[in-house]
């Protein structure tokens, strides 16, 4: 027993293409989690197609009962299972691989993985049996079967184990002195995600365990308001894990493709610290029009304590492209404002995916999230389709596309297989990004017209004559949304086909180096310092950032104007 453990701890291989060191058990865990992630993305994506085609009133594919069931399954599979499985893979990669050390307690990590798989499958089975159509939020006192809550608890416990394996691996690396000085920035970002994940899962436990006990009759009552408060510490923070994780992935891709280093370690790390301190309190976004919680609570928490976490995101939004610009300029692409950007590898899905993710997350997801998170403006959009519109920009265009982009790079490194269908792969991020941006925009458009979320029929055909007529534009928006869903699903399916196909049929690489360089050499001090160190002046990125800022400010104040036009309320 001791001997096998000792032997396992010594199984390392060096990747011929990247020079990264892989600990055998860590590598297998990363592979398993990443594959599970893609499977649940596929399942959740199919449900998403059905949702989009039902919302399109002229198609109205599913009946009401199926629609609500499929919508529940869609949310859980993509918002929770796909994301968390991939994030566990990212955590193991950023600890064991980037620090070049063995992974701590691989057996526990496998136990966590098994719990997550069991929880995720069990959840799908319970939901698809049809009497757990309670949406992802499962708001008490609406009741789901006990197994629904139990499946989520199992999944969460598994994920929590994964987080602690990550922290344990940081300790291993430190004790074994496999790195010197501070953690790499990308690992630091992953650690931020892991910290948020711990808070998320603890909150989930605080609310889901009593709710499970209530569903089996041991606990008498679940307070609906307290449920909302605590559930959102779980539900919203889980999406903040994604933000921290995909920002780390952006930094990682900038380093992988351009050899970029952060413009300033201090600034980027302090921005992550702002996430650690304040990102999670924005769970209050969901309580802004709730009874019983004071305006002080709402204003303080919804603003992440004076928008410090928003500041952090805007800083990452500058430093990620800024670090790419600096690296490109150092390597000679100095002309004009945007030569560095034009000369970027737009045909490489790892780059295009990452860049679309960055722009989409900022412009579509970030701005709208902050605007609707203003206490009073929330009155206009709470629970309308604007909300899913917003988070399809953050979680899908932002996180999902960033993870897809990284996957194109990871498959040859981890599985030693070449990516197949390279022509399709070149287009995939554009298809998916464009389709999903459409989904986001058209859902938000419908939401501003008042269309409710999670609603099977905005034509009110079954009410016996009491109806509300939404403007024709709302129906157009839902139709355009349906078409965008189709484009996005083609993009998502292309991703699954390319990745699964590559794992099964991609040319085996073995110990041979690939024909193309797979990781950029880090830009050297000399390169950065050439031309009087001008590489760190990043005029192109500053221009882009200013365009972003102006759009943000305009959109922000326009919404206060909209608010001023509605009924007086106090």
């Amino acid at each position: 027993m001791v001997n096998t453990t000792q032997m396992l701890n010594k199984v390392f291989r060096t990747c011929p293409d990247t020079g990264l060191t892989f600990h055998g058990p860590a590598e297998n865990l990363i592979k398993a989690n990443a594959v599970a992630a893609v499977v649940f993305l596929l399942v959740g994506g199919i449900f998403g197609l059905l949702v989009g085609l039902t919302r399109w009133q002229a198609v109205h594919l599913l009946g009401a009962e199926d629609f609500y069931m499929v919508l529940t399954a869609h949310g859980l599979n993509v918002l929770i299972f796909w994301m968390i499985f991939f994030e566990i893979a990212v955590l193991y990669f950023c600890s064991s691989v980037l620090l070049g050390c063995r992974i701590a307690t691989p057996r526990w990590a496998w136990a966590g993985f098994v719990l997550m798989v069991v929880g995720a499958i069990m959840n799908n089975v319970v939901v698809l049996q049809g009497n757990a159509s309670v949406m992802m939020t499962s708001y008490a006192p609406m009741e789901a079967p006990p197994l629904f809550y139990l499946s989520l608890i199992l999944f969460a416990v598994g994920a929590l184990i994964g987080c602690f394996v990550f922290f344990g691996t940081l300790v291993v690396a430190k004790n074994d002195r496999t790195y010197e000085g501070s953690l790499p920035l990308v690992t630091f970002g992953a650690m931020t995600a892991a910290i948020i994940a711990v808070f998320t899962i603890v909150s989930g436990a605080i609310i889901l365990i009593p709710t499970f006990l209530w569903s089996v009759g041991i606990v008498g009552e679940i307070d609906a308001l307290a449920y909302r408060l605590i559930w959102w510490a779980f539900g919203h923070s889980s999406q903040q894990i994604n933000v921290a994780a995909h920002v780390s992935v952006w930094y990682a891709i900038a380093a992988i493709l351009f050899g970029a280093r952060p413009l300033s370690e201090k600034v980027s790390r302090t921005a992550f610290l702002m996430y650690i301190l304040f990102l999670q309190i924005a769970s209050a976004h969901h309580l802004l029009v709730d009874p019983g919680v004071s305006s002080n609570f709402k204003m303080f928490n919804t603003s992440y304590a004076m928008y410090l976490a928003v500041m952090a995101s805007m800083v990452h939004g500058l430093t990620v492209p800024g670090s790419i610009e600096a690296a490109q300029r150092a390597k000679g692409h100095r002309a004009g404002l945007f030569t560095w950007l034009r000369k970027a590898p737009w045909g490489n899905p790892t780059f295009s995916g990452m860049f679309i993710s960055l722009v989409g997350f900022g412009f579509l997801g970030g701005i709208t999230g902050v605007v609707m998170g203003a206490e009073q403006i929330n009155l206009l959009i709470h629970n309308t389709l604007y909300v899913p519109g917003h988070f399809h920009a953050t979680v899908v265009v932002g996180s999902t596309l960033a993870f897809m982009a990284l996957t194109y790079w990871l498959v040859p490194v981890l599985f030693r297989r070449e990516i197949i269908f390279k022509g399709l792969a070149r287009w995939q991020p554009y298809l998916f990004g464009l389709g999903m941006s459409g989904v986001s925009l058209f859902l938000m458009g419908a939401g501003t017209l008042g269309v409710p979320r999670r609603h099977w029929d905005i034509g009110f055909a079954g009410t016996g004559g009491i109806t509300h007529e939404f403007p024709a534009a709302a129906y157009t928006m839902l139709a355009l949304n349906g078409m965008s869903v189709i484009v996005a699903v083609i993009g998502g399916a292309a991703f699954c086909v390319i990745i699964v196909g590559s794992l099964l049929f991609g040319r085996k690489l073995g110990d041979q180096k690939m024909d193309v360089p797979w990781i950029a050499a880090p830009v050297t001090e000399e390169e950065y310092n050439a031309n009087g160190g001008s590489a760190f002046a990043i005029p192109g990125t500053v221009v882009l950032a200013m365009i972003f800022f102006i759009s943000f400010a305009l959109y922000y104040f326009i919404n206060w104007k909209y608010l001023a036009e509605t009924w007086g309320i106090s």
Binding site: F278, I281, F297, A305
Partner: protein, 51 residues
């Protein structure tokens, strides 16, 4: 040895020490939202008066 690089020698600044300490960050990352959001929120809900 006329001038030492400030990036290479001297005491480690306090903020860097904090950012280099994963478990301290884990603690404040859980405690801070737990107090600001969960505890504050629950306090407000339990003090709602009965009509």
């Amino acid at each position: 040895m006329s001038e030492q690089d400030p990036g290479e020698s001297g005491p480690v600044p306090m903020m860097q020490k904090l950012l280099d300490n994963p478990f301290l960050l884990l603690f404040i990352g859980v405690a801070s939202p737990a107090l600001l959001y969960l505890v504050w929120g629950i306090m407000e809900i339990v003090t709602i008066p009965v009509k």
